[in-house]
Symmetry: C2
Subunit: 506 residues, 2 copies
């Protein structure tokens, strides 16, 4: 991990889900380590720093038990995978973790009322505003007793860790669960240097006007407790600065992307998150992936056939229904493709307790049945819809698809596009929504999709499927180069470099 | 009309609905004159200028017949009300009108597919984006063969009138039906001085991304054929400039609200439209209004009771359902008001052929029935819902209401608030959505409503109903003064002053 710049100050991280979670089986306490680029990048950083701590939520009863045994303080956990907890000082790389326990009702209001769906819906533009949301006293109460109370508890834990490190530390806060934390931490520890990174889109002021006036102002003022508010794209950073100007009346500079709050200058910056190419390369080389790849080739790619792929959660923001409508339009308008092009959709059911999400899954099923009923030829269905979460299967499909479809109506970044850029070996074409954050980086190598325009998406799929192989490989190589030189470590290093600069160390 | 500045250049006006429309009864051709502040202000201007012409659509078969008899050219029509058309040169004030006839299918695509609902929905934020809109080849075709074709026909008529006036004229274009006209007119007549006024909200760039890329670019480039793009509020003007920067990549200046297009500088300006106070005063003094007023007092205002009023079309953007939910919440939380406060809603059914609008009316009925079932006391229903359009009844209600509710989720201006400010005689409180354009002018005299926040609206209604009478009268007087000094003639004069300046006459 020598390519991550080490720091001159102690480091305090905060995210809702942490790097580890505890459970219990017949033989005792077990530990599960989080997956994904963010956790591995931040863990890689934290395990090289003696004085780092990661504050996160106690997600299981066993997490709460661990927190209780340590009086809510931080514990040291091995980061190498061993199934069971080793007593005493761990050998090898380890990370200090502080698990925050909050009241279950408050957490439910924080997580299942405000973070999801309200903030998620606002930031992805999912409300049909004529009827939703209807904000009542219940939502106001859930904000005070849930979102604000849980934010206060996490902020107190962060401030406590900062104080125990002499009151001066670099603090990295993650995502839409914690918009109120930065301001609270700064009040208690005025010497912190603080970045809040927002992993989902940030819309313009009008979208935020859907929230009650006092709540949107508190969220913005909370975030402005940071020195840097980080986003994936320039567009989101710009929207944030516009919000500060329009909704709070603060002085802004749109060229520098800064907001002046009393005597402080807060910067909006953009750091596109990315993947870990080495880890992807290793997964691609695994036997598991090879077996899936052979199966997929056999099913989808004999006799000069082609494969369109999508891999998404069944979140309405992912726009699965219009994606299938576009594929149906493609087959309607280019009958020569029927029987020659398949669409494999690996969808992970998500938040099925939210009615809009459950309805959306039903609609996906309906449109797939309709298109398959119309266009099945010689026993081959055009769409293969699989409700599974299987990373090895996904990577196998990434490597052999002809086209990846990402047609989200809003998507903070979309890492699937970057994963495909790294592992595809077939000149796969990225068909990429202009509303996905990754379009700002990869759009020039992709075929752009307009996610509300079914005809345009059908035309773009046709362009991708009929693109000369040489151009496909040229574009893919350029996209892969962009991702490999802008990996998740760079995402982190760029933030740290800015913080070091702000803290006066460079 | 001496308070409208006369011009040094010929004037060409364009709007979809014009100042007159022809029909036929047993005794021959009849003429109907348009009502409302816009038509009367522009008519008042045009009838004082010998060389003015108003281009508009042929709305009836008789309009088309009139246009045909004159080979599509302009005709002179009396502006004083006489039921029948007088042959020959009219006496008294008159106005030159050019009726544009277009293919009915093209007009249907222009009006009933693109202007309403698509542009209306986009600009009022009404789409629930996870499912709507679904833009297909049909919508693309309707844009080309409808919106673009009809815009071209109207632009040709405008350019023809400009050329017949020596190629130099002031051109005033109206509203969202004609976003492509300015560019076409400028191509044909480079010396025009042109304002396009947009009467509905202008949202930020992300909202416009719902449209196909090529279409949103054409709409923006079309508008940028103007010298001035006029809006009701600073917020809309700012959003327009942001769109030019973000969606077209043009250089912008957000402080000056300008966009640079090649060698031209296009200004976004805001001119809040208003009412004609003298006409309202005259209506208020009429016998018809007096009779309605007596009836309303008898029904709603005996024994120290209070009246909340709303007057709206049943457009989902008007937010009628959440308005009633807020009133229901008020009665739930303040039972002492049950039987003491009534809510009179005068709603004009609108666009009932659009499914979303028909569904919305059903929902209004459902929520009213529920609240009335719960809170009827001593035979008095709390909500009196009347689906009528009766201006005299509305003015009578304006004059005696205690609170006017305007809680639109988006509304270009909302003139009802200004009408009430002028004619109310009871210290009526304006309860005004922050999303209505009129809030930028009248917000400081009003009680602000957050239209998605039912609890906040209930609290605001309570504040308004319990406000001391002295403060009510003070606020109302200040609002009335603002409207009387910023009437519809001022709206027009401010635009003309800017055009005169651009044309080098001041």
């Amino acid at each position: 991990m020598s390519d991550i710049d080490l720091l001159d100050l102690p480091l305090v991280l905060l995210s809702n889900r942490g790097p580890v979670s505890f459970d219990r089986d017949a033989s005792g306490r077990t530990v599960n380590r989080g997956a994904g680029g963010l956790v591995s990048a931040l863990s890689g950083l934290a395990e090289h720093l003696d004085d780092a701590v990661w504050v996160c939520g106690a997600a299981t009863p066993e997490d709460a038990a661990v927190a209780g045994e340590n009086d809510g303080g931080a514990i040291l956990v091995q980061t190498q995978p061993t199934p069971h907890v080793v007593e005493g000082q761990p050998d090898g790389p380890s990370i200090r973790v502080r698990l925050v326990v909050t009241d279950p009702d408050a957490y439910a209001d924080f997580y299942s009322v405000w973070s999801n769906p309200i903030l998620w819906f606002i930031q992805h533009g999912l409300y049909g505003r004529s009827l939703a949301p209807v904000l009542t006293r219940a939502e106001h109460d859930a904000f005070e007793n849930g979102y604000a109370a849980v934010n206060r508890a996490y902020a107190d834990a962060v401030a406590d860790e900062v104080r125990s490190r002499g009151g001066k530390a670099l603090v990295l806060l993650q995502d839409y669960h914690f918009y109120l934390v930065a301001e609270h931490v700064r009040e208690q520890c005025p010497d912190v240097v603080l970045t809040h990174f927002v992993h989902i889109p940030w819309p313009g002021p009008d979208e935020w006007r859907v929230l009650p006036g006092n709540i949107r102002e508190r969220l913005l003022r909370g975030l402005l407790g940071s020195d840097v508010v980080g986003f994936h794209t320039r567009r989101y950073a710009r929207n944030f600065v516009l919000c500060a100007g329009e909704l709070l009346g603060l002085p802004i500079n749109l060229d520098d992307l800064t907001v002046t709050v009393n005597d402080r200058v807060v910067s909006a910056r953009y750091y596109p998150i990315s993947v870990d190419p080495a880890a992807l390369d290793a997964t691609l080389a695994s036997e598991d992936v090879a077996a899936h790849m052979a199966m997929l080739r056999y099913v989808f790619l004999d006799e000069d056939r082609q494969l369109v792929l999508r891999v998404d959660r069944t979140d309405p923001s992912k726009n699965v229904v219009r994606g299938f409508l576009a594929f149906g339009t493609l087959l309607d308008q280019h009958p020569e493709l029927v029987g020659r092009v398949s669409f494999l959709a690996l969808l992970q059911p998500s938040r099925t307790d939210v009615p809009e999400y459950a309805d959306y899954i039903a609609l996906i099923g309906a449109v797939v049945a309709e298109i398959n009923a119309k266009h099945t030829k010689e026993g081959r269905q055009p769409i293969d819809l699989r409700m599974v979460e299987d990373f090895a299967l996904a990577v196998a499909a990434y490597s052999i698809c002809d086209v990846l479809m990402v047609n989200a109506i809003a998507d903070g970044m979309n890492l699937v596009a970057k994963e495909v850029a790294v592992v595809n070996r077939r000149g796969g074409v990225l068909a990429l929504s202009e509303m996905a954050g990754s379009h700002e980086e990869l759009g020039e190598f992709a075929v752009t999709l307009h996610p509300f325009d079914v005809q345009q998406m059908a035309d773009a799929l046709y362009t991708a499927l009929t693109m000369p192989m040489e151009e496909r490989h040229r574009r893919l190589a350029a996209a892969a180069e962009q991702v490999r030189t802008h990996d998740v470590r760079r995402w982190l290093n760029d933030q740290l470099a800015d913080l070091r600069h702000l803290a006066g160390f460079s």
